[in-house]
Symmetry: C2
Subunit: 479 residues, 2 copies
């Protein structure tokens, strides 16, 4: 890398750190920001009603396959997937899967006020949200959005992301979505900084990273798309000040050193080879099949669900909402059964915080394996199985002592495709001996994870969500 | 990266440079090495006979699809692909495609003799080779090879790559294969260094990188798999001595500085964002279809070919060969029509050699776009088209003056799947203004390319082949 780029990297990391530290700024006070969001939530009106799958307006079931698709041929469709993973506890299964080949944009607009970067966030409704509005990125747009298949209003602020030539791009990388619900879906995660005047529309507000970080600790406020975009910011880097103010705790010191790029247990080349090895060792074959051929699933008027009652259902909803591009529509959603848990076990190794990452295979990943949290599962799906068939570290996470738990909040998956998808997010201090002898697990630093996030196909969406949560602990502003 | 890893990286780059500089060593003199390969070639006996597709022993045409597959269900199959690329000159087409979901290992074993790393190369026959033997990696193995579906002898030296725990891994990364002939195929490219005694079997020999580089300039000697594995070696790095001996030329000085990581026209983050942008801009959809549904192709007894006579044919061959795992077999092969050209335009920018890379979409790429050479085409496929529909820079390459041409050799694609696939490899000095205003092209340094080669999905196999050729110009040993 040339000198100019290296300088600019240092500068970005330290500016980001300023935004993390700021919970009160001249532009946006913390109490006001919180009040703004609560107030909007109280005022907001929307109706989401479950309706039969056959009653979805604009959608049809293709008679030859049973697939559910939009009549325009766009948006997404519900199809079938036949999966063969010889080494997994269940070696072969089939399931419904969302197919959405379009690459969407998830974009956060950033602007400095008084030297502190602020993010333009949107309080936005989605039909699957538990609580109406969530703090979403400035822009969530699919190709259908900007080619006008919606026949709704244009997406505000999209122009900053569609043509970045006169702005500063802080992050721009395609990242995977849920590999067990989507077939090879990716979104483009963008953070774009503007210098000029930006009009703030109704429902939008400039927030600092420090404010977003405090809101992350509140259940179901910060949207999943916001979390993945935040994780792609170049948080880590040599520009970080790792000196703690008096009274700073040891955990935070280890976290800052982990971000700054101090010594990792494994070098980056070793980690890349380990991923290559995991991808080669893991045999996954996933084949598209007609939805009516998925075995063990049945379709009633209300839902497509597994005969065991586990996993998830495909349901239909009819929506009337204020302030969205189209005010009335209906669509299928995936409704997960049971609350998920995603957890990072973290540990200090020689003064530097490490995260225990899991090389995990999912049928919808583009390249076999991505790095997932230490634990990522829906515990209730394993209750009927013997202990040996449970995911590694499930007991360590679910039985952690309160003094080990550094982060614990229930957050949602995006409500545009998933209905009331609750995921408990946990960050837990643990012993660094725990990963020993497990070839699918490896301790990594935050800087290494952020380095991998410059590329596609390395970190799954759950890991990215937890990275945003872990970064939120670096500001020391948790109240 | 920690201090240890950084030190080891420096050491590897300088050891590789020693091997590049060495064309005569105590173990292996250049004249002997060349004689060894020629002698083996004269002695070698094999027979490759074209036979009708229906006469392939062990293979059958599936009646419901027309696909050609091995009766065991393994190896590979010939299927159909329906491609939609709205922005390309031909927006929609269908074609036969090879489907080989197994990830193979392409591995070169390395050992130091008298401080100079040597590569254990194999003079190996493949049925599609123009000239019998080619200098191949130590190991080329598919999963079928090591699970014994071949029912042949075990693959020699495979154990070094299957379990690397007691060896030093210099490279281990999954890279794409030909995206217009294979559906999302990847191979694992490995370079493993051993310290202990290694028995040298008949047909194998230790060669330095300097010797391999000289052989690269000879037509059809160094196998395509060797070239891709060589490209993944950490050639570049801060350990390189960029000081030239007296009389060293300016081109070589620029090349060494390009390897050492000196100033690039664009920073790495800019390049990654440019790739994200190209992948998002380019709409490619590729769908598997039955082979008998490909439009514009016809199957005769001898071949499946396009009605225009262009592109390629699918043919059958019957093979009797010495010294391969199985001495007699038959198989389908792809026979490209016309000699291909791949070329790098290179230019010095502030004393550092840059390569003009092309962000290219192919239907068989895992992630839409990879970086390809400046030019990659079969000129004869464009003769019938107007000049505007020809690939960019075709004229600059085909009409280059002799004094611009730094490398020019005709090399083959691998003979295990491709029959007499001739590709002219060229490296041509050009003006750095040439890329201006073309959003699909960008000037990059060798160090940036080598950095991307630590990851999958960035450089296509033709670019990797040319990178091996470009590295061969760094030693100054061309005679």
């Amino acid at each position: 890398m040339n000198g100019h780029a290296a300088f600019s990297e240092v500068r970005t990391a330290s500016r980001i750190a300023r935004s993390v530290a700021a919970t009160d700024t001249a532009l946006s006070r913390w109490a006001d920001a919180r009040h703004w969001f609560e107030e909007l939530g109280h005022r907001y009106r929307a109706r989401v009603e479950r309706i039969p799958l056959d009653a979805l307006n604009g959608w049809r079931t293709r008679p030859e396959t049973g697939d559910i698709a939009h009549r325009s041929g766009r948006f997404f469709s519900v199809e079938g997937l036949d999966v063969h993973m010889p080494a997994s506890p269940v070696a072969r299964w089939s399931q419904p899967i969302l197919n959405q080949p379009e690459i969407g944009i998830l974009g956060i607009l950033v602007k400095e006020f008084d030297g502190v970067p602020h993010c333009l966030m949107q309080a936005k409704f989605e039909p699957g949200n538990l609580n109406g509005l969530q703090l979403s990125p400035t822009v969530q747009a699919t190709r259908s959005n900007y080619t006008g298949v919606h026949r709704g209003r244009p997406v505000p602020y999209l122009e900053y992301f569609a043509d970045t030539s006169s702005h500063r791009v802080l992050a721009d990388v395609r990242q995977s979505e849920h590999g067990s619900w989507f077939d090879r879906k990716r979104n483009r995660n963008m953070v774009v900084e503007v210098a000029g005047e930006v009009e703030v529309l109704d429902g939008f507000r400039w927030l600092t990273l420090g404010q977003l970080h405090r809101l992350l600790a509140v259940d179901h406020v910060v949207h999943g798309d916001t979390r993945t975009v935040l994780s792609c910011l170049p948080f880590a880097g040599p520009g970080l000040d790792t000196a703690l103010p008096p009274g700073g705790d040891v955990f935070r010191a280890g976290l800052l050193r982990s971000c700054a790029g101090d010594g990792g247990l494994h070098g980056m080349d070793d980690i890349l080879r380990w991923i290559t090895e995991a991808r080669t060792r893991t045999e996954v074959s996933a084949r598209q099949i007609p939805l009516h051929q998925v075995r063990g699933w049945r379709r009633t008027a209300e839902a497509i669900s597994h005969e065991s009652g586990r996993y998830f259902g495909v349901i239909g909803v009819d929506v009337s909402a204020e302030g969205r591009e189209v005010a009335q529509w209906s669509q299928p959603l995936i409704e997960p059964y049971g609350t998920g848990v995603v957890a990072f076990l973290v540990s200090e190794i020689e003064g530097v915080l490490h995260v225990l990452m899991h090389a995990r295979a999912e049928p919808g990943f583009v390249d076999t394996v991505e790095l997932a949290p230490t634990l990522q599962c829906v515990p209730r799906n394993y209750e009927h199985l013997p202990a040996a068939a449970r995911p590694a570290f499930m007991d360590e996470v679910l039985r952690a002592r309160p003094d080990q738990i550094r982060f614990d909040a229930e957050l949602s998956e995006e409500g545009g495709r998933f209905y009331h998808a609750r995921i408990r997010h946990m960050i837990i201090e643990a012993d660094s001996d725990l990963g020993a002898g497990r070839p699918d697990f490896r301790w990594m630093t935050l800087h290494q994870l952020v380095d991998l996030l410059r590329h596609s196909h390395y970190l799954d969406i759950q890991a990215r969500s937890l990275i945003a949560c872990l970064h939120s602990l670096s500001g020391g502003a948790q109240s």
